[in-house]
């Protein structure tokens, strides 16, 4: 089954990548807001903080961590020309390595490798609801004059604390979570949250190469396939067809 899904996804991605020029991606307000707020942060000489939450490379959220790291890179690539450095945080020590790597690459892309320091990406101990991460990100937003808090990855209830700190000190907030609790808080605390699977298509909106557009289109197509299958199954069940 998994091989069939992977094969379908690969085929759709390849076909969509070939037809990328003809594909118009649906609007995602969060990515438009991200570009505007990052530009505003750079112009006003303030920093940007990207938190990957508790997304971990060693468990089932590994691909969420990779997608979050891609968004960190895209954000850092835009903000790394600013006066204040881009900072990142995570509560998974293995993900810390990938966060440092993406920051280093972003600064290298802007020919400013000397600005990168390994402590720009920080690890905070995890827990069921990582209060340490929430406290650390909240403090970083205040202490380091960050104007934007981009939260992308696995967050639970602790997202409420970070959002509260961001709103109280008038920081822009772009939250996202793959957890239901975190996603609910994200929706309630921001006018432009990233919703569920939108995290995984950041490259298509921020670096629209044919392959990235193809991946986003494949994801949308797969979603429509699932919706169609669900409706078809519901209709069949309603008609009394036993599968």
């Amino acid at each position: 089954m998994i091989y069939a899904i992977l094969l379908i996804a690969l085929l759709m991605m390849a076909i969509s990548a070939v037809c990328a020029r003809a594909i118009v991606l649906r609007a995602v307000p969060a990515y438009r807001a991200l570009q505007q707020t990052v530009s505003a942060a750079v112009e006003s000489g303030r920093g940007v903080h990207v938190s990957l939450g508790s997304s971990a490379l060693l468990d089932e959220s590994a691909l969420t961590a990779i997608a979050g790291a891609e968004l960190l890179y895209q954000t850092a690539a835009r903000a790394s020309g600013g006066d204040l450095p881009v900072t990142a945080s995570t509560s998974d020590p293995v993900t810390l390595g990938i966060a440092q790597d993406r920051l280093r690459r972003a600064y290298a892309l802007r020919n400013r490798p000397e600005v990168f320091k390994s402590t720009l990406a920080r690890w905070y101990p995890s827990g069921d609801a990582s209060l340490a991460l929430a406290a650390g990100v909240g403090a970083a937003l205040l202490d380091e004059e960050d104007s934007l808090a981009l939260l992308c990855g696995r967050f639970g209830a602790e997202l409420a604390l970070i959002a509260e700190a961001a709103i109280r000190y008038d920081r822009d907030l772009l939250p996202h979570s793959t957890q239901i609790e975190g996603q609910a808080i994200a929706y309630a605390t921001s006018a432009t949250p990233l919703l569920a699977e939108e995290l995984f298509v950041s490259a298509a909106y921020l670096e629209p190469t044919p392959l990235n557009i193809g991946a986003a289109a494949a994801q949308d197509a797969l979603r429509y396939l699932v919706v169609f299958a669900l409706i078809a199954l519901a209709v069949l069940a309603f008609l009394g067809v036993n599968l």
Binding site: Y3, P93, D128, A191, A196
Partner: protein, 229 residues
């Protein structure tokens, strides 16, 4: 220059080798975890054993990474000590870290012992008292934080979806309270939780699952950024 204007770079031998290695290992792990029925049983067993070995190696790497995480935390907060009074929090954190590490070291060496089992260890009691209790309290407050945030969002901009969100929150919250023995609100709450909330939750999780499939394919074909530049 934006990320979309990244200049085309030459393919480096190291990156190509890394991509080839990663793709190979990823495929072997996948075949080991999800055996293909058409392959001979011996091959499936061998692939499974190899993938289990890889997973065990990864667990060891995780343990080493935890040490690196602690070092990162220590370095960052040691640097923060220069910026008083802001560094007071960092001082507190470092003192706590040192204290808990010392307690754990004394316990492991047998010098400090409370009770006979691991569950009564002082370091675990400290964790239970300081962290678990506060995290539980936070979980209890989520609902009120949500209502407050939704109301604040409505103050800025009233939309149909925001109004719906707030109304659902209030109904569920009131549905849990024993208001004059009425059965309407609890019934409404039950329906909300079991039908629209359940459907929405599944929808979000399916979306996340599809996203991970697409990112997984990108990693499997070596198009992740780690291998590209």
């Amino acid at each position: 220059m934006t990320a979309s204007q990244t200049p085309r770079r030459r393919l480096r031998l190291g990156a190509a080798l890394l991509a080839a290695l990663t793709i190979g290992i990823a495929l072997i792990t996948l075949l080991g975890l999800e055996p293909v029925p058409t392959l001979p049983p011996e091959t499936n067993q061998m692939l499974n054993a190899f993938s289990q070995l890889l997973i065990q190696l990864v667990a060891v790497i995780g343990a080493i990474a935890l040490l690196l995480g602690v070092l990162n935390l220590t370095r960052f907060h040691a640097a923060q000590l220069r910026q008083m009074p802001r560094g007071l929090y960092s001082l507190l954190l470092l003192a706590t870290l040192l204290g808990v590490l010392s307690v754990r070291a004394l316990e492991r060496s047998g010098i400090l012992r409370i009770g006979n089992d691991e569950a009564s260890a002082l370091s675990l009691t400290i964790l239970d008292v300081a962290q678990v209790a506060v995290e539980s309290a936070l979980a209890g407050l989520i609902f009120f934080a949500l209502v407050y945030s939704a109301a604040r969002l409505m103050r800025k901009r009233v939309t149909l979806w925001n109004a719906l969100f707030l109304a659902a929150l209030v109904i569920v919250l009131l549905g849990f309270s024993p208001l004059g023995g009425t059965t309407l609100l609890p019934a409404l709450r039950e329906w909300l939780l079991s039908v629209p909330v359940n459907a929405g939750t599944r929808g979000l999780l399916i979306g996340v699952a599809l996203g991970t499939v697409v990112v997984g394919v990108r990693v499997l074909i070596g198009r992740d950024r780690t291998f590209r530049e």
